[in-house]
Point group: C2
Chain length 404, copies 2
């Protein structure tokens, strides 16, 4: 049993939808049981967002979800027709019909559980289910969406719920690369990568997979394959860490220009301050990425910096200003001309000097580091956005990622 | 309490959606309780149909309904945002959320009942509900659509369920005219028309209102107003017959070019034959419009002719051929170059010679009549499509409809 997810460029027009249907049909005729998950046709979701912003500066999130969920529904109906046209039985499923129950955090809802009864019944009747990705319903029966890239999450969640053998994510690239090939010409496609590394890569801006889908895949141990819908290249397998993987120190270099840095100056250094700030931001459903606070020794005040996505920067800035006023800080500033450049690899756990090499490489290139954040398997630096591409190329070189 | 329905041209782009929102808001601020029902943005439904036909010649009707229902959902979310942006509380409702329960006749479902609890709750909270027209769900929780023009039916059904004072149908024309003004330049807008006359006008091709919506309005005695969303002209009131109306003999002339005539030749003249033929066609969910059969006296066989819409002609023709073979007729022929021209008026019940005047007028113009069908308040003739417009102009003249 295989769950196949096709992204927006793979279903961009009716011709491509028919090509995907042929790919699905070939797999079914080989004897596999296939569940298809589809995204909106490329450009549709952007069009809906543009409509909403033509109407209001502050679109209601419940209404946004009803609007945005339409694109995937359209594709699912068309894909089911295309598969039927090839002589197979098929049937579309909306988020509600496939039983994806989420919380009520509109525009970024979390899946709570899947009631897959109707999906299983369709499979037992020999039908190819075509699921509208990216959406579910909440306890009020209102439509919710899972955030951009949420169709990946839909696919993995269904694979987990049905205990599928494999979840294939079809996209317009051939797999996961050591860096963005548009920036680093000799970037190499990986054959396999661990869940944890993929998780870091995804969260750091490698847009090939949605982070939450990798978390789901790891949690339920669903093997994921990222591959192209435009050719038969085998793609990249995302799976549990194994011995082969540990031979390389660094797996990849990622960058993310969709970042804004917010700094709160001279925060009183007493317990509970950070909680006050970040609770207020979390209450607005804004994801904070990096957080950096330096220990203060001299004057009982410190600076706190954090990053959020550019889209949420304005809202986060306003909330932060409000909280800062209450806390009596010296003010808040924001820089939207920043990028995050990161190196990822399980191997860095057992190799010394990786961080030093990264910092030295950037320094030699005259690139100033504004923030640093590390985890066990990644190191991220926030730098000026104008240096982002050069930083990626230099790090890809210094860690010799182009070599097999 | 007023239900306002806005058609596709009234919500064709985000600018028009904002204009409609202002119209709604003005009404709410005057103290009315308003429920808005919206169609898909002009062109969207046609685009979806084109997509489906690019994929397959025989799109599955369940999938068509999921596809087609998307357009109204998109408009409802955008309209709710636009009303919110003017400082009012508003909330979108899908067919499911508004509780429109239909049968499972996909692409032409009938409303069985409305569970309006959530709608009433929203009104009690001071919200302006914006309902996605044209759609409901069936007992399997699958999305159904009510057929083209079904948003009118949604509006009237909601007005009936909530016992609203008025249902306003906003469109791109100023009301109901004595004939199509594009064909008859001196056609006159009516101030009022009875349900029965409107029903005949609608079924005869005056596209300003969907026939089923008028039936609903008549059944539940919902006063309907047809008016333009582009100006403040008062429109045409569709209501119960009253004494004023009887003064005119003929209310209007309509024509319908979306017709095909199918004739079964030399049908054996024995009981049950007509039932066999039309049951088979009804089983395929095809609406038959006119049926004409002449009494046969000499040779125990007769010809049966009927009309269907052009879109359903091919399917109806195939079914008819199959049944005809079994019945042993002399064969079936079809003519798609026909139009139906009709005169409508409650006054014809008490005036002699109306039919004769109609036939004489067509005859004087050299127009051959292929089929005739009458009801108490209308007379329809099927003629060659090339004479349709001339027939309408001559009938409009002879019955002096341009005069007040």
């Amino acid at each position: 049993m295989i769950v196949q997810k096709y992204g927006g460029t793979s279903v961009a027009d009716t011709g491509r939808i028919k090509s995907v249907a042929e790919r699905v049909a070939a797999r079914v005729r080989e004897g596999d049981m296939v569940i298809v998950v589809v995204s909106a046709m490329a450009g549709e979701t952007d069009k809906f967002v543009r409509f909403a912003h033509e109407i209001t500066d502050t679109p209601d999130e419940r209404e946004m979800d009803l609007l945005l969920s339409s694109g995937e529904r359209i594709t699912s109906a068309l894909m089911a027709m295309a598969i039927q046209d090839l002589g197979l039985k098929s049937m579309s499923f909306t988020g509600r019909q496939v039983g994806i129950i989420t919380d009520s955090a509109h525009t970024k809802a979390m899946i709570e559980h899947i009631e897959a009864g109707r999906l299983k019944a369709a499979l037992n009747e020999g039908k190819v289910p075509v699921v509208a990705g990216f959406q579910g319903i909440d306890e009020f029966s209102d439509v919710t969406t899972l955030g951009r890239g949420g169709s990946d999450t839909t696919a993995v969640a269904i694979a987990a719920a049905l205990n599928a053998d494999l979840c294939e994510i079809y996209t317009d690239v051939e797999g996961v690369f050591t860096a963005d090939p548009r920036i680093v010409p000799d970037a190499r496609k990986m054959d396999r990568i661990s869940y944890d590394e993929m998780l870091e890569m995804a969260s750091l801006g490698a847009k090939v997979l949605h982070g939450r889908s990798v978390e789901f895949a790891k949690k339920y141990n669903v093997p994921l394959v990222v591959r192209s819908s435009f050719n038969t290249s085998p793609g990249t397998l995302v799976t549990r860490e194994d011995e082969d993987m540990e031979k390389t120190v660094i797996t990849g270099v990622t960058h993310d220009k969709n970042q804004a840095r917010i700094t709160i100056m001279r925060v009183p250094d007493r317990p509970g301050i950070a909680a006050t700030i970040f609770n207020a931001i979390a209450a607005a459903n804004i994801n904070v990425d990096m957080i950096v606070q330096n220990i203060s020794s001299d004057d009982r005040a410190t600076d706190i910096s954090f990053t959020v996505s550019k889209a949420e920067a304005k809202k986060a800035f306003e909330i932060t200003q409000k909280v800062s006023d209450e806390l009596g800080t010296k003010g808040v500033n924001m820089n939207t001309d920043v990028a995050k450049v990161s190196i990822v690899g399980v191997g860095m756990q057992s190799h010394f000097g990786v961080a030093a090499t990264m910092f030295e490489t950037l320094s030699n290139a005259g690139i100033n580091i504004m923030m640093i954040s590390t985890s066990e398997i990644k190191i991220s630096c926030v730098i000026d956005v104008k240096h982002a591409e050069e930083a990626v190329r230099r790090l890809h070189d210094v860690f010799q990622l182009a070599k097999q």
